[in-house]
């Protein structure tokens, strides 16, 4: 008897109650996104794929000083300096192993030339491990980016008295 009563209760009470929750969501804003067509807005402090910045005149900012590699806790930055045709110090090889990188942003913090930044790019899955070693060419921007609000803060904080920024 009890069993019969419980079955009737399930069908006519619990099921509609559950479905009501379901149907209610038809009229609510969804929490999921239609990724990749839609993307979630990001925190301004998001740390994604690195990029190497340029000066306004187009020359590379990175001088291959090695401080980012020294600061890197995952030890994933490798570089070799060279002397460019003007006799200036530049990176001949600059590589980051993105599989080892933990995106802590210490490199950005360490960089005295404001050359490396962690950008907003996070879609860089690939099919083989080798392609996660990002080279200088892959990371170097084609023209100076201005989109990182932190850049301007860092530059404000920097104490350079009367010395124009080199080659700006």
């Amino acid at each position: 008897m009890n069993v019969v009563l419980r079955a009737i209760g399930n069908v006519f009470w619990s099921m509609p109650k559950g479905l009501a929750v379901t149907f209610k969501h038809l009229f609510k804003k969804p929490v999921t996104l239609d990724y990749p067509h839609q993307k979630k807005p990001m925190s301004p402090r998001y740390r994604g794929l690195h990029y190497l910045e340029r000066y306004d005149d187009g020359s590379e900012r990175c001088v291959c000083c090695g401080l980012c590699a020294a600061a890197c806790p995952a030890d994933c930055i490798y570089m070799e300096p060279e002397e460019n045709e003007k006799g200036e110090r530049r990176a001949r090889i600059y590589e980051i192993n993105m599989l080892r990188c933990i995106f802590c942003g210490y490199c950005e913090e360490a960089c005295p030339e404001e050359a490396i930044f962690l950008g907003r790019e996070y879609e860089f899955s690939d099919y083989d491990r080798d392609s996660f070693i990002y080279t200088k060419v892959q990371m170097l921007v084609t023209s100076p980016r201005k989109d990182n609000p932190f850049k301007w803060i860092i530059r404000k904080v920097r104490r350079v008295y009367g010395v124009p920024e080199p080659s700006l």
């Binding site: 000083c65 070799e80 002397e83 006799g87 008295y161 009367g162």
Partner: protein, 853 residues
């Protein structure tokens, strides 16, 4: 004649007691407060102070507070006084140092990211330590911009290996002072004053002196940096390994900076050892590491097949060696095998080689002197005696008379050369130089006496006779001395060798009056055919002036392990004490004929020696008769050569084995004092090369005769050998010292001297890019008058002809050389200069003519 140079003699040994940071210390009078603090282990920061230079007090970094003195004092220039109370860490001192750094940073660009000094920069460290992150000097910094430079970096290259950035200079003047006080060079100077003071190369000159690499090392900031290190690697990524320079007989202590993952050495700096090098490296010692990484290192063994050398494996090569050697042994006997080894190799290699030749093969045809002509089969007593005298490098410092005889110190022993300069600049030394041609050391010499080439023993005899005739020294047996010298009077001897009698008298008086004499003879003597009579003359001089009782004398060994080779019995007929020891170690010792390099070559021509093993030596290039050496080696049935590179000698070889360099294994070397020093393994062997000791042991294994039963046996045996006393007594009587002379040949009037260039040593250094950037090709050094006589101008091609050969070289005109002599460096394979030499001559003579196009 020049007056005796009077300088303060460091005889005064009074002491003073002072208190530093609450601790009391007693130091010699004349010590600075800074040194007193250092002796307590208290670190006072400095920029301009250098332990081996005079204090100038130009940077003010070393401020300390001294009670009763109103202001802070620079400790590096303040003499310690009795009862001083010094504080090195008070608030006032810290404030003072902060202010100094702030001031130094006034014009400093702080471009550390691009600066090669970053990570090892004293300014960086001290700025950080004093927590300075701000400046009150808020105006445009002074910047030195090179005219026409497109770079934003303001770097200027002022020498083949030196990069200058004047913006970073903190005006400590260490570079200029070291150049002047320690090296006696004037190619770098300080110009202008105040804000625009700049260090730069002297007008119209390059900073390319043989010690220039030190300038980059001692610069406390990144103003002077080395080109070899430029933009290669950060210092914190490298590991340091202590090593020894294998190109100097003093065994200069070095530190190699290497990267383990890349198996690469990046630079060499000094590992200061006050007993040997005072912290200075010659460029040869500094840039020699590049030899290790030269592109054309031999990487695999080669075997000659059908007349061509083809790559082979070690097994093939060793099997072939074992087979051919045993064939020769079976057919003709073990005396038909010989071995030549380079005295630049370490003890284990040399000893192993000796054991292989003598114990396993059973021959006495072993020699390590492949660059000397006409070595006799039985050792010469006086030469041995003069070579085996104890020498201490640091004893040069406080000698009051230093005599250099038959040695171009700068080229042969750069660190002794600096010692001699130091003895002159900082001590009270009077320096006399006796050479067949004028040398670079002459500017510190009270007297440089240039005698006629080939008159070495006569020159010394003239000194002795002058001393006796003028009554400067009293000696018994003067008749015997006269007889020994084979000249009746001093004036006759002086005339024969071309020296002034009053010069001789001055030198004799100085030597007689001196408290401590250092008498050093070098390669010009050792390379001479008449080395024995000259050594006898040295012994006579020693006896007359009792040099060995009041100082030291000796003929210096030429290579980094010549002493070791001698101790380990690598000579064909080693001293009896060594033979006895070897016999007791091995249970036997061959009693076959003993053959030197020379007599081996003679036997090769007679086909009495058929098999030869050469290790690290290059007789074809460096034996003083190229044609003779080459023809002899060509006669061999079987030649094994082990070397770092393809050389003139490996070309003739049937088997070529790749040898590891000194940086690729740990080895011990015995320097000219007899000091055993270790060069540690910095990197793994390049390619398939193997250390010398491994090669000889492998050959012995294939000959079914293991050299050692256990690893530590090698060490034990070598240690026992090094303990053997090999010093030969100096003769107690005057010994005949008349040397033979060549017949005159009017057709070839000019004496030819062959030696090392100041930037090179032997046949390897030519592979070092930094050294060839200083001097990259052979040249003919001749006097202005001689050049004018032949209408030769600097850089002209000159044909040099001897009876046996002809070489064309560019001319280099030098004030330093006499009219009847020319000098040619032997370090460049492209210029086969030993083909001009004849091994039987005492002095090689040539004629020169300008090549007209």
């Amino acid at each position: 004649m020049a007056e005796a140079v009077t300088k303060k003699a460091p005889s005064n040994k009074a002491t003073v007691t002072l208190t530093i940071d609450g601790r009391s210390v007693t130091v010699d009078k004349g010590t600075t407060v800074l040194e007193a603090a250092r002796s307590l282990g208290i670190h006072v920061p400095t920029f301009c102070w250098h332990p081996k230079l005079k204090s100038v007090g130009s940077c003010r970094m070393c401020y300390v507070e001294i009670e009763k003195m109103p202001k802070l004092q620079v400790s590096c220039a303040t003499e310690a006084m009795d009862g001083m109370v010094v504080a090195t860490d008070s608030d006032l001192v810290k404030q003072g140092r902060r202010a100094v750094i702030e001031f130094i940073l006034m014009n400093h660009p702080l471009d550390c990211p691009t600066c090669d000094q970053g990570g090892e920069c004293q300014l960086q460290d001290l700025t950080f330590a004093h927590a300075i992150d701000d400046s009150r000097f808020a105006f445009q910094k002074e910047r030195f911009v090179e005219d026409g430079s497109v770079s934003t970096f303001d770097d200027v290259q002022i020498g083949p290996e030196i990069m200058l950035n004047r913006n970073r200079c903190i005006q400590c003047y260490k570079c200029v002072r070291a150049n002047k006080e320690a090296f006696g060079e004037f190619d770098l100077g300080a110009f202008e004053r105040g804000n625009i003071t700049e260090i730069n190369a002297a007008p119209g000159r390059q900073v390319d002196n043989p010690f220039s690499g030190n300038l980059a090392e001692i610069c406390p900031v990144g103003a002077l940096t080395g080109m070899d290190w430029r933009y290669k690697i950060r210092v914190w990524l490298t590991k340091t390994v202590s090593s020894i320079c294998p190109f100097t007989a003093s065994g200069v202590n070095t530190l190699m900076y290497m990267d383990e993952t890349k198996n690469r050495i990046y630079r060499t700096t000094s590992r200061r050892n006050d007993e040997i090098d005072d912290g200075w490296l010659s460029n040869v010692s500094r840039y020699a590491y590049q030899v290790v990484h030269a592109d054309d290192r031999l990487l695999t063994p080669f075997i000659r097949r059908d007349g061509k050398q083809v790559e082979a494996t070690w097994d093939e090569a060793l099997d072939l060696i074992a087979k051919r050697l045993s064939d020769i042994q079976d057919q003709k006997g073990c005396v038909c095998i010989g071995g030549l080894v380079s005295p630049r190799l370490d003890n284990a290699t040399l000893y192993g080689f000796n054991k292989l030749m003598r114990h396993v093969i059973g021959t006495n045809n072993v020699d390590y002197r492949t660059e000397y002509r006409m070595l006799p089969q039985t050792p010469e007593d006086h030469y041995q005696a003069a070579c085996s005298q104890p020498i201490r490098i640091s004893d040069v410092d406080d000698s009051d008379v230093i005599v250099v005889f038959g040695s171009d110190m700068l080229k042969e022993h750069p660190n002794l050369y600096l010692r001699i300069r130091k003895a002159f600049n900082f001590g009270a030394a009077r320096i006399f130089i006796l050479n067949p041609y004028s040398t670079k050391a002459s500017d510190v010499a009270e007297l440089e006496m240039v005698y006629h080439a080939g008159m070495d023993e006569v020159a010394l005899g003239a000194v002795c006779l002058t001393a006796v005739e003028k009554g400067i020294v009293s000696s018994d047996e003067t008749d015997r001395l006269r007889e020994a010298i084979a000249f009746d009077s001093a004036s006759a001897a002086a005339l024969a060798c071309g020296l002034e009698p009053d010069h001789l008298e001055l030198m004799a008086r100085a030597m007689a009056e001196a408290r401590k004499v250092t008498f050093l003879a070098g390669e010009i003597i050792s390379r001479s055919r008449e080395r024995e009579p000259i050594a006898a003359a040295i012994c006579n001089l020693n006896r007359l002036f009792s040099i060995n009782t009041k100082g030291q004398f000796g003929i210096l060994p030429g290579h980094s392990n010549s002493r070791g080779a001698h101790h380990l019995g690598l000579a064909p007929d080693p001293p009896a004490s060594i033979k006895a020891k070897l016999r007791s170690l091995w249970g036997q010792y061959p009693d076959t004929e003993t053959n030197t390099t020379d007599s081996m070559m003679v036997q090769m021509r007679k086909e009495e020696i058929d098999g030869l093993i050469i290790m690290g030596a290059n007789p074809v290039m460096l034996y003083p008769d190229r044609a003779f050496a080459r023809e002899s080696l060509e006669k061999l049935d079987f030649l094994v050569v082990s070397d770092l590179f393809e050389t003139e000698t490996t070309e003739l070889a049937d088997v070529v084995l790749p040898l590891s360099s000194w940086a690729e294994y740990t080895g011990d070397y015995v320097n000219l004092e007899g000091r055993v020093q270790t060069a540690s393994k910095a990197i793994h062997p390049i390619g398939d090369s193997r250390p010398g000791y491994a090669i000889v042991e492998a050959i012995a294994d294939r000959l079914e005769n293991t050299l050692y039963t256990a690893e530590d046996y090698r060490r034990d045996e070598i240690d026992t050998m090094l303990e053997v006393d090999t010093a030969c007594p100096v003769p107690n009587l005057y010994v005949p010292s008349k040397g033979g002379q060549d017949e005159d040949d009017a057709e070839y009037p000019i004496a030819l001297m062959i030696g090392d260039d100041p930037h090179h040593r032997g046949h390897y250094t030519e592979k070092s890019a930094s050294l060839t950037s200083h001097v990259g090709e052979a040249y003919l050094e001749l006097s202005p008058d001689l050049a004018a006589g032949h209408e030769i101008k600097e850089g002209d091609s000159v044909r040099i002809e001897s009876p046996v050969g002809k070489v064309v070289l560019p001319a280099r005109i030098s004030e330093h050389i006499r009219n009847d002599i020319v000098f040619v460096p032997r370090n460049f394979p492209s210029a086969p200069v030993t083909s001009l030499l004849m091994r039987k001559r005492r002095i090689d003579r040539v004629r020169i003519s300008k090549v007209v196009r």
